[in-house]
Symmetry: C2
Subunit: 171 residues, 2 copies
DNA sequence: AACTTTACCTTGGTCGGCCAATGAATGGGT
DNA sequence: ACCCATTCATTGGCCGACCAAGGTAAAGTT
């Protein structure tokens, strides 16, 4: 009922209600989407799909880890990580082997082949960052980071499964 | 070669290189993901999946439109929209019919049934926005919107397929 | 009028990502 | 020792989103 007669929105509002009702939410979606596409382009040269680079970076960083490590670090669903790894394994970027210390766990590590990409990926990531922030002065960048962190906090709280700051000190 | 010997990263840096090399990029991914999950939860009650709500909002707003309209408004890939519509049609939220004026086009409109959700969806969207921005004062919110817009601009430029303000005078 | 380009949408395939449910191994209670 | 709860990982199903390619109809050219 609230619905305007189809033929009559001569006014043709440029702004969708979505943008009015939730400017930030809307902006976040759009930025994320564009950012992902940009990442995809930047990564096209290195045979990685957007999302995979973070996983690889973690492996390059920490060597052999078990899947749980990745799941917690990337904050992804277990099944997502499993599938990503299967694909990365098939493309030869990653190797998996059973953990001798725990027969239900799996150890994951980057292959030597993949290490060749390390530099390229970090360069791509860096240039992406630069591109993203073009035209923002240092103060603005800091502020953006701060605000995003706050928002993340909020959403994290809502989700209620946010990272209980990893014990870390570790064993 | 930068790779530390696997067994030796005793230091175990808490921050992944990704976060150091691209704090904002990293934050954007995370925030987007959390935001999407939150949206999913908020929408769970209304039988819509995250992403669909924006499409529906557009339909509620503008009545019957052709698919191209949606594609441009949501800035999505045509195939994405086609598939979303197929699903929305099957769940009875949307109806499609050929455009009498242009035999290759299709007109899409929200079903009456779906209109019942209109209010609920907007409420959900609004509360999501509020949740996202909890603890940010008005000035911060404004600033966040401004910064995100700038970033969007940047990424849009990169992508190079951003909405060339439809005027289309174009060529 | 005939031909070529352009626009509109669909299909098929691939990825990341989620949830729910399942199998295997570990660990804790009693 | 036994059983039950946890943890680790996988599978299957589904959705959003992309790209590439294809088919049909409308414009624009000649």
């Amino acid at each position: 009922m609230t619905r305007a007669t189809p033929a009559e929105d001569a006014c043709t509002n440029a702004l969708p209600t979505a943008a009015l009702g939730g400017p930030v939410s809307h902006a976040v979606s759009r930025v994320a989407r564009l950012h992902r596409i940009a990442a995809g382009k930047a990564l096209k040269g290195v045979d990685l799909y957007p999302g995979q680079e973070l996983l690889m970076m973690h492996l390059w960083d920490r060597g052999a880890v078990r899947q749980t490590e990745l799941i917690r670090a990337l904050e992804l669903d277990p099944s997502t990580v499993t599938k990503m790894l299967q694909r990365l394994e098939q493309t030869g970027h990653v190797r998996r082997r059973p953990d001798p210390a725990d027969r239900r766990a799996v150890l994951v590590e980057a292959t030597d082949q993949s290490c060749a990409l390390h530099t390229a990926v970090e360069a791509a990531w860096g240039s992406l960052e630069e591109h993203t922030l073009a035209g923002l002065d240092p103060a603005e960048r800091t502020e953006l980071v701060r605000l995003l962190a706050k928002v993340e906090e909020n959403l994290c709280r809502e989700t209620e499964d946010c990272p209980d700051r990893r014990g870390a000190a570790s064993a």
